[in-house]
């Protein structure tokens, strides 16, 4: 689990990025961390992973302070960074070198995911395309079975079929004991897999709701005209009319349009 209390952080000689930010996330969730460019998503992930130290506040991940870099925590947290580099070795050599350092690593699971991603173990990692390398890193992260998986822009660089494979593999791989934190600005890529939405804006968490709660409160629809809709919360023009968010009136339930929800949150309509 991740527990953040009154976190304040700024880079050297820059204004505060976070000021008294607090956030609690329990295991067993796939959380979408959304925010505009420069909102601080990657920095927050770096702080959670212990790659940066906050000036004030408390961060606990599975009961550890991540900046202590306790090996017991590091063995249970896997961070797929947006940018990454690999040694000049094959996939098989990489797995041979790194899999034993993660106690719960499942080699068979990795083989299965690599097969689905159509990656050959004999391939040299640095001769693969960016998207293929990203797929390998995601496969390795999932096979590590770490309790906390942090994915920063995991779908960047993936082609359309790979994005779909990624969603399918992630949902089938993650257990109730794990917590997956996905940071992205490509909200459509993750709208069917997350069960909690956290929105970061101007250094603060401005929205933190489970998908269940959202669909219980909000109704997403596309309509030809806005006339006659009394409980309209937010709308956007689209080629077929208007995409709208309105309050749920009875037991009706709709699918969630994450992009529309995000825009509504950022525009303070919700």
């Amino acid at each position: 689990m991740i527990k953040i209390d009154n976190l304040s952080f700024h880079y050297k000689k820059k204004t505060a990025l976070f000021n008294n930010l607090s956030l609690d996330i329990e295991n067993g969730h796939i959380v979408g961390l959304l925010g505009k460019n420069g909102a601080g998503k990657s920095t927050l992930l770096n702080l959670i992973a212990g790659l940066n130290q906050s000036q004030k506040g408390i961060i606990h991940v599975n009961g550890f302070n991540p900046i202590d870099r306790n090996p017991n925590l590091l063995a249970d947290i896997y961070f797929v960074t947006e940018e990454f580099s690999f040694p000049h070795v094959s996939i098989n050599t990489y797995v041979k070198a790194f899999s034993p350092i993660y106690p719960s690593f499942d080699v068979e699971k990795l083989k299965g995911i690599l097969k689905e991603f159509e990656l050959d173990g004999a391939s040299n990692l640095n001769k693969l395309s960016h998207g293929q390398r990203k797929k390998f890193l995601i496969a390795f992260a999932l096979a590590s079975n770490c309790k906390v998986l942090i994915l920063d822009e995991p779908t960047n660089g993936l082609d359309i079929p790979s994005k779909s494979q990624f969603r399918k593999i992630l949902v089938s791989s993650v257990t109730d004991e794990q917590l997956v934190l996905i940071s992205t600005h490509q909200v459509k890529d993750i709208d069917t897999i997350i069960d909690k939405v956290v929105v970061l804006d101007n250094g603060n968490i401005i929205y933190n709701e489970s998908i269940d709660n959202i669909t219980r409160k909000l109704y997403f629809d596309t309509v030809n005209s806005l006339t006659g809709i009394d409980d309209l919360l937010y709308n956007e023009n689209c080629p077929t009319g208007h995409k709208i968010i309105r309050s749920v009136t009875n037991t009706e339930e709709s699918g969630i349009d994450l992009e529309l929800l995000f825009n509504a949150i950022i525009n303070k309509s919700i």
């Binding site: 940066n52 306790n70 090996p71 590091l74 070198a97 350092i101």
Partner: protein, 266 residues
Amino acid sequence: MNANKFFSFNRFILLIRNDLILNRKQYLFSILGVFIVGFIYIKMQMPTVLNPFNFESSRYINPFGLFLLGLSGIIGTSFQETSNKISRASYLLLPFSTFEKYTAQFFVRIILGTLIFAIIFWIDAHLARLTTLATLSGKLTTIPVIEPFHFSDLYYFKADNTQRILSLMTMFTVGTGLFSFKLFFNKSGLVKSVISLVGVILIISCLMIIFSHMFFPETKGFDMKLYQYNVFGKLSNLEVYISSLLCFSWLFLLPLGYYKLKEKQI
């Protein structure tokens, strides 16, 4: 303190294994390169048909110096993972304690590196001697003496025990400096370390000049006047001062490097 979070032998072995698997090609090529270059260099120093001189054991010192230079290069590659933001993040996130990461690099680069270089030098020296003797036999009526290499020859070339210990400790200090300089700066560690070192030497020199003018008014311009006296019987205070810097800086460099690694961020 929970020892397991600080050091675990199993994790340490896993880290060494990880390093050897990932870098085995570089290590093998380095060993092969040092072996070939070292052999050629030592052989070039030995007598030939045209120049049949006696080769005393003290002549091994120069090639050994070249080997030390090569070893310095290897030690200087320590912590190269920390030189850019992306690889630094991956390295810091490896599930090993900072102490394990630090000691693993020390073990591979300094302990194992020195041992392997010493073995290669020993083999090269003997191989060069044997092949030279074989080449010369039959071509010369009097075969020149080529003394075999012994590590003790390196030890005895210095005048006394104090000098021997001082030179060994100075080498260790240089080694620890090369080992840890990348940790002191995130980018261009070597250049910045050299600039810092030159800066420190300049500051000390300036202070010495200022003190010389203050305490010895007859001092002119940039001259340095130092009051010298004997300590410990045969060493002057200046020798003690310089020796202390050269011999004991590693006591400062090694812990500082460790804490710099511990506090590294991206």
